[in-house]
Symmetry: C2
Amino acid sequence: MKNLLKVAEKVSYKKLSDNYLFSEIRQKTSSFKDADGREILDLSIGDIAYALPPSSVNAMKKAAEEMGDNARKRGYSPENGYPFLLNAIASYYKNLGVKIDTDEILVGDGTKSDISLFPDIFDRSNELIAEPCYPVYKDAALMRGNKLYSVCGNKQNGFLPEPDGIEKKPYVITLCSPNNPTGSAFDKEKLKKWVDFALETGSLILYDAAYSAFSGDGAVKTVFSVKNADECAVEFCSFSKFAGFTGIRCSWFVVPEKIKLSGGKTLLSLVKRKRSATFNGVSYVTQRGAEAALSFKGRKECEILIKKYLSAANKLKDFFSKTNLFFTGGDNCPYLWIECPNTKNSFEFFENLLVKTAVVCTPGVGFGNAGEGYFRLSAFQKEDTVNEVLNRFSSSDIFKDSTSGVLSKN
Amino acid sequence: MKNLLKVAEKVSYKKLSDNYLFSEIRQKTSSFKDADGREILDLSIGDIAYALPPSSVNAMKKAAEEMGDNARKRGYSPENGYPFLLNAIASYYKNLGVKIDTDEILVGDGTKSDISLFPDIFDRSNELIAEPCYPVYKDAALMRGNKLYSVCGNKQNGFLPEPDGIEKKPYVITLCSPNNPTGSAFDKEKLKKWVDFALETGSLILYDAAYSAFSGDGAVKTVFSVKNADECAVEFCSFSKFAGFTGIRCSWFVVPEKIKLSGGKTLLSLVKRKRSATFNGVSYVTQRGAEAALSFKGRKECEILIKKYLSAANKLKDFFSKTNLFFTGGDNCPYLWIECPNTKNSFEFFENLLVKTAVVCTPGVGFGNAGEGYFRLSAFQKEDTVNEVLNRFSSSDIFKDSTSGVLSKN
């Protein structure tokens, strides 16, 4: 047997848990066999239930065909995206009443990759993370060895933590709204508190708006609708959810030209410099599909998808409204975030739910300690699936003690 | 005007030059107007001149169509690639006489992204880079603050540096063969010296084989054909060049299960852990296109492309063979690496060549100081383009002093 390499693992890696949450759930789920032979209904991952918008599919087919023609084929994409897509994204913001220059937009292959670029750019930064949160925020910061601070969502603040009482120093703050996992969303007034805190402390906000297309009237659709956010915030968006691109991979983020680090360089120039050394752009075929999703016709098609997912969320919401369990979400984002009945151990609840109903949820603790005692259900599901899930919930005893008796009569 | 953020740029970023080489050349080139109105012929970037193989185009169209069908659409890809593509890649290795398990293969969106994962995994690693090299190797290591060592190619070693005389300690060694920029390629005997050095010192080799599909009979096609390389080497490959995927983005790398770091963990587990937090897989459409490129029919189609590019390289080689300039490459890779005539300043030569012939080359210094005094020509060109380039070379005086007089008579 061979000797070990004399190269050592980075110290900061040891702080990571060994398995990434979703992989762990996938493993537990795939080894599970339901005693009654029921199909496993997986509401743990926010993956798509419906096909892509026809406009995007047609655009991708056409683009693939171009790639097969010597006169029309395309080589390397401009690193940060083709002008046709950058223009479509700038128009998206214009429709929201916000002016963004195409130079400030960077097209990527997913918010996960885009966000993970950031902790690496700053010198010994303090990372302030609103928990519970998408585990990637923490992983990326921990792997780079940055110092982590957190501010917690809870029942009292409706899982929308505010900056009051946080020690005033410069942070890199990660916020997500509409929120994964809690489905809650900032209104303008609450988000303004964060922007003001960032401006006061010289902090930077990384604002994950991957679910903004689902947000209703009261919720903020872009951080840049808050005054002066373009002096302290970067916004991340994704085609994954509203256009069904989870398997196609396209995202964008906006780094306002105005933001300068204390060394005097613009954040935009540093981000572009880093990307030029680590990324070669997004597939032309994908970019054409994304452009089509933002076209007039494409947006109408996406709206149909959005309505379907929000209607599924609404059904779940109706169910839990009849329980005495605290929950958030469902209105501005197809996630529901629900108090575990009869236990504070969310992994135990996950296993219990699986055994009793063959339904897979995400245990809240996977989104940080602030998520313990809760679970997440994804409503990125077909109507039939949600109906069947609710049948199983009603006929099992898992939510029985939490109801007023209405459900157990069914 | 707004105050600066109080968040500072990472110290190690200051070691980077401000502009990435290729962006700089692009800028100089795009602002250039030829006095005689000739079309600018760009031989500076290794981008494709021909369309993609028909098999890949058809597979991508079919895959896009699947994405438009509720019953056949795909959501998130398995993070490290679909089994159909992993199997195709394992077969590729089997044809080279090497056994690779599908678990050891990771599909990515480009060798640039794949390689840049690595410096980040190791604790204060010593990076040993064979120069001249693709600037990304250095950038990625510098950005992470790792210590850089280099070993240089030169006229004497034919731009194939050997490990003799290097201080014996554990490094992360980056090698590229067939080489970008020099076009030179290791034979088994020379590469074995590096593998033996790595085994002796507990070092890891990152082996960039992005151009291996172009390599001729004497050259190594995979590092794993060298005995025990699977105990110390990771191999990177790309569809960009042999299948024309520069605008589609697909790559793979192999991390042998056997490789363990000094902490005892396998390198494979660390790489997968890192990827799970920073990457969401490659587009299904792209993966189907890549699978098709490795099919029997696809490989035949790729061979046609490969022959065309090598034939273009051969024409350039013939020209420079008639000069007294030292050069490498052209046989195992469509790059030529040529001594600058009459100057040691490769940027000066680049500008001189542009003004005199409206042909764009890459100045060698962009690939590190070891590249100074040389320039690179990319033969990823159509035949007509190369013919026109050679006409201009012959009719200008730029290579005149370097010839035996044959060319200037034309």
